[in-house]
Amino acid sequence: MFDHRLILLATPRQIGVLDWRPGHMHWLGEFSASEAGLAAFRQVLLNHAQLPVLLVADTVDEDYRSEILPHVQGHARSELLARKLKQVFRNARFTGAWRQARETTGRRDDRYLLASLTDADWLTPWISVLHRERVPLYGITPLALACQHLLSKLRPQAPHTLLAFRLNNRLRLSYYHNGHLRFSRLISTDTPTQLPGNAADEIAKTQLYLAGQRILPREARLHVLLLDPSGQLDSAQAQLNTDPAFSTRLIDLQSLGRALHIPDAFLAATPEIAPLAAIAGETVQLNLAPPELLQRHTEFLWRRGLHAIAGTIALVGLGITAAYWLHAQDLIDQTLQMAQQQQQLDARYQAIAQTFPVQAATPEQLAQTVSLARHLVSQPADTAALLAAVSQALSAEPDIHLESLAWRDGAPPTADGMPIKLDAALTSFDGNYRAAMQRIERLMETLRAVPSLHDVRLLTSPVNAESSSTLTGKTLNAGASNGPAARFSIELVYREAIP
């Protein structure tokens, strides 16, 4: 869309219009330099308003100069070129300069091609129409430059190439050095170039001129490309081939069509579109249009840039809005799905909750209560085993009289076992405390021997022989039967024996 443009081929007698965009082109016709032609041309421009326009001039009134100028840049270069163009071409309106290369030696100056339309009065009516209709003209360039792009598509191998292009009964001879335009001339119909021999002569004269002007090195062999849709240059090839200074190649329409991707029939009907199609998509390197004629195109570029920016902003905004909106829709969908899931969960919860019995306690309290009850009644004390264990020990000591037996059980039971307190007295005590203590000690040993009885220790003894306490009593005669009782207490722990 951005590359859609009109390419005009202007000659002093007529102007042709090519509607071009990449991959497509349409020949809109030729319009003579008359009132009717100008009106028709204006109508075509109106029908293609706001399309940039390139004007390709094909006239004999053109001039080319090669110049070596100091290498400067920016504003200095502009001023330098303006002075040089004014100096070379005097008061010509349509002039231009093309910086083709930079010297590799010396000061490394710049090599320029200066060009001018020395007589462009015939162009004024067309330019006026363009100006009135505010057409964005982006360049005026000679046909030789368009032919340069045509040449590049033909890919010639020789460094010195002369393109002989016969169009509308006029022969244009353009010289290119390494693919860059150096010189061109048009031989009009007034000269008898329709004869092939004359065309060969003109080519030979041009070669001599180029050599004389030192544009073409004297020893260089000139490669001549003959391009003539009407086929009248075919015989010139044989004449040129006899001269070792030339090598020739005839370009037929098929080769040209393939190079330019144009159907042969279309090219045969309108051969003038070949150079126009070649330059249509290219940058104009040699622009002869004065700056005031390019003002509309400058405005066009700004307008198009701003419109592109506005479009880009709108697209980006639309894209971001769409992305956010789609994201929001996605989130809404997720929310709805979650809401449905929540409803399902709630329904399942209600179904479960309805099965709950009417209970005073929560299920957790209920389970805790049951667990606590189990814990409270777990591992009850085995009183029978406890009594049996103590009885086993006491049976071994018949002269011990048990007075009381007490035990305590924890709630809950602990691994430490049940503490037992045993109060007893020695029977047939004769006052011999030493013997009594031995008997008590024997009882304690017997208790310790029982597997389920542990930590056996004497709590109180019949007599307290500690140095820190007062000890009173009386001795008994031997054989006394009713002596004082020898009471004592033993503390021990009962733990059920592990089998």
Partner: protein, 199 residues
């Protein structure tokens, strides 16, 4: 490209500004909508998580009920849950005493007290101490009494301890006269019933 010709670019500049404005409005509007829906999604996510947790909890509760309801109801019937039934305890002690054939016993019940919190496990567990004094012919009478009481006990209790002692040396051996005395301390446990309901 030289200095922009602003005079002829007014419409284009207005177009750019309009595009900027529309893009900004669209972006802000859609962003606000996205943020609102994001917040709604998070809220819904939280509600869904809560519903899921509620359902999981109800399943756990259902499992707890299925596992423990019968036992709990049995405990309630036995009197472990609810107010303490002292008359039933006394009756059980009397019946056990008669079954074993003891002469008679004395009992004493202390006021109900809260149990140790480590034992209660946050439940309203209370304990009532019952002190029994009973004469015995032989030591096995105590064991028989405890077994009989266990069979008849209407609630949960635990024997905290016993003391067996002789009643003194009789002047002569009389038949069927108690020679021993047992003093036992029992702890009766009860859990007060609270109205909590299911959740």
């Amino acid at each position: 490209m030289t200095r922009p010709p602003f005079a002829v670019l007014k419409l284009s500049l207005i177009l750019v500004l309009a595009a900027l404005l529309l893009a900004g409005i669209g972006t802000l509007w859609s962003r606000g909508k996205a943020l609102d829906t994001q917040a709604a999604l998070l809220q819904q996510q939280a509600a869904l998580n809560a519903a899921q947790q509620k359902l999981d909890r109800s399943r756990q509760q259902q499992h707890l009920i299925d596992t423990n309801l019968a036992d709990y109801q049995a405990l309630t019937a036995r009197g472990f849950v609810g107010a303490e039934d002292r008359l039933a305890w006394i009756e059980a002690v009397q019946l056990a005493n008669r079954e074993v054939g003891l002469a008679g016993l004395e009992y004493r019940l202390t006021p109900r007290a809260a149990s140790d919190p480590t034992l209660a496990q946050d439940l309203p567990l209370g304990q009532t101490a019952m002190t029994l004094t009973l004469p015995l012919l032989v030591e096995t009478d105590l064991l028989n009494f405890l077994v009989a009481l266990k069979a008849r006990a209407p609630g949960l209790y635990r024997v905290q301890g016993c003391r067996l002692s002789r009643l003194g040396v009789p002047s002569f051996e009389a038949v069927n006269q108690p020679r021993l005395q047992a003093e036992c301390e029992l702890l009766w446990f009860t859990v007060a019933q609270t109205r909590a309901g299911t959740s």
